[in-house]
Symmetry: C2
Subunit: 347 residues, 2 copies
């Protein structure tokens, strides 16, 4: 049988462990994967694009386990009460090719994106950071806040969204969790005094959420919302000032903020910072940028982390996705096995 | 909710409809898809290869519906009582990106491969064909037999496998279904007098199942087993004699029998025969070859055919693969909604 983790079960699991311990553990798993970056098979995601959105497959393998995520991005969906992004994922055993896990990944993607942001910030932000601005109060906002508190101890938040109702939703979710929350009337006001600035907006077009004059020395930028061709959040002059870190350059140059820069603009691969092969922050005045687009290795890591927690527990259900004929060459025999009286051609 | 069709439910559905009516309907659906071939997005499959096998993703879309299959091929599996090939598939709504169906596809792939072979043969084999030889008595054998009877009325079978127990398994399955079955001591003996020769062997290496002198004029060859680089079944001189038809040349030249030929060796795309844009069989003496490797459009067609039959019936179960927050921007709110007492940070 194959394990299935439903939406209810991942929510129950995260609630039972606690969102912050879950995120902290997941950030640790991300760091482990980035430390063994070279062991993963890496291909750019495979997208099917239409006018209104895209459906993508994101596969990878570490030679022992194969995994992929299927995810869409349809900004038009919110107008009809649907989510912009939904996702599910699969793990398979490389030795046999048999799938072992099917899981919801809408919630898990939100968790992995936040854990990944926080893990990168732990290596790139000033160690004395206490305050984070979050521009964009959509589905990802609260997960970022929790991950940054779990991993870096950030408890002071400054929120802004072009839709004040979205900001109010986020504030109402975050204040009861003990965060000090300031809502700001503009992006400029929100970033004032912030050590870390996270951008998580959802417009599918070139937008300037942050301009150069808004960001002072020493800030760490966590750019999460710009993640497909034509979708960016940061002004080019700001990019030229920043020390830029990416997941997988081949993908980020197409999908990330750096699609606005020359194809040979220098960037550092995050895995090299984590293994010590490359420097991270150059000093307290450095403006660091994690140009996050989301990579298959992160989904793989989230799925294996989840499976380790859920396997053999009530959080994982069995689904009958695979036949198990007594003789593997006798697949046809399964058709006759049960209800033989219903086979119209049985002798 | 998303529909899920389990192994038991597809077996029940096929038994209840009857395997031959199911296959005949599926062959008709295949023909419809090939007639509108140009409306499909076509990419080569995306494989993750290891020494012992491969795991592949096969996506396509017709602009309304997106689908993919995840399938492995591990010939080593049979030694440990597992199947060489298992598969599952997904359909999504292109307008929203939301998945609508998750289905087992191990059984469904066996059915779609057989239906596809029979559909192609209906366009390529001599209309007076009555006898089919099947070389290879593994998991696909009986499905081929049923599909050819359902679509072409072929009732006389000549079976051969290097493992006599496999042939006996197939014979024992097929005789009670009313087929006239002859088991042969060699491939040469099996093909003698056959109008159609189907090869469905599973060796992952260059093999010569059929040599040139074994095949007389007028025969239709249905080459199913050669379907990945290095895996072929037919001798090159036989290929040079044959009028060759393929699904998608870009993929077949890498994976099919024609990987043994020059990259510009003339082949005809099957969809052109079906739309009337190209000729099929040139006369009763022509040796026709359907060099089948399996293409994503066929899996898409099988999934949509299945979903049309299963949707809204007991054959489809609901699985909770997608969250449905009241406010699509409030994904985080789901975490607090149920079991609020368990949230360790709730105020």
């Amino acid at each position: 049988m194959v394990d299935f983790v439903s939406v209810s079960n991942i929510l129950n699991l995260v609630r039972d462990i606690g969102p912050e311990p879950f995120l902290k553990g997941l950030a640790g798993a991300m760091e482990d994967s980035y430390r063994r970056w070279q062991s993963f098979e890496k291909v750019a995601r495979i997208g099917s694009h239409t006018r209104d959105g895209v459906i993508e497959l994101m596969p990878t393998s570490d030679g022992q386990t194969y995994g992929f995520k299927c995810v869409n991005c349809h900004p038009v969906n919110t107008a009809s009460g649907l989510q912009t992004v939904v996702a599910f994922g699969v793990l398979s055993d490389v030795a046999t090719g048999y799938p072992v896990l099917v899981s919801e990944m809408t919630v898990l993607t939100a968790l992995r994106t936040a854990a990944m942001s926080a893990m990168a910030a732990r290596h790139l932000a000033r160690p004395d950071s206490t305050t984070m601005a979050i521009i964009g109060s959509g589905a990802q906002c609260e997960f970022q806040a929790l991950a940054f508190r779990a991993v870096l101890g950030i408890n002071r938040l400054r929120l802004y969204d072009i839709d004040a109702r979205a900001t109010e939703k986020a504030r109402a979710n975050l204040v009861p969790l003990g965060f000090e929350v300031t809502t700001a009337p503009s992006a400029e006001a929100a970033v004032a005094g912030a050590d870390i600035v996270t951008t998580v907006t959802a417009d599918k077009q070139f937008a300037t959420i942050l301009s150069d004059n808004m960001i002072g020395a020493g800030v760490h930028l966590n750019a999460v919302g710009g993640d497909c061709p034509g979708k960016t959040e940061l002004a080019p002059p700001l990019l030229h000032r920043a020390n830029i870190f990416v997941e997988y350059p081949e993908q980020t140059r197409v999908e990330g903020e750096i699609q606005q820069l020359a194809p040979d603009h220098p960037v550092t691969e995050l895995w090299q910072v984590i293994t010590g092969a490359a420097a991270g922050r150059r000093g307290p005045q450095d403006v660091t940028l994690f140009d996050s687009v989301g990579f298959a290795v992160e989904d793989f890591t989230a799925l294996t982390y989840l499976h380790d927690l859920a396997r053999g527990t009530g959080y994982a259900e069995d689904i009958e996705l695979l036949p198990d004929p007594a003789d593997p060459r006798d697949l046809f025999g399964l058709l006759g096995k049960a209800r033989p009286d219903r086979n119209p051609r049985a002798a």
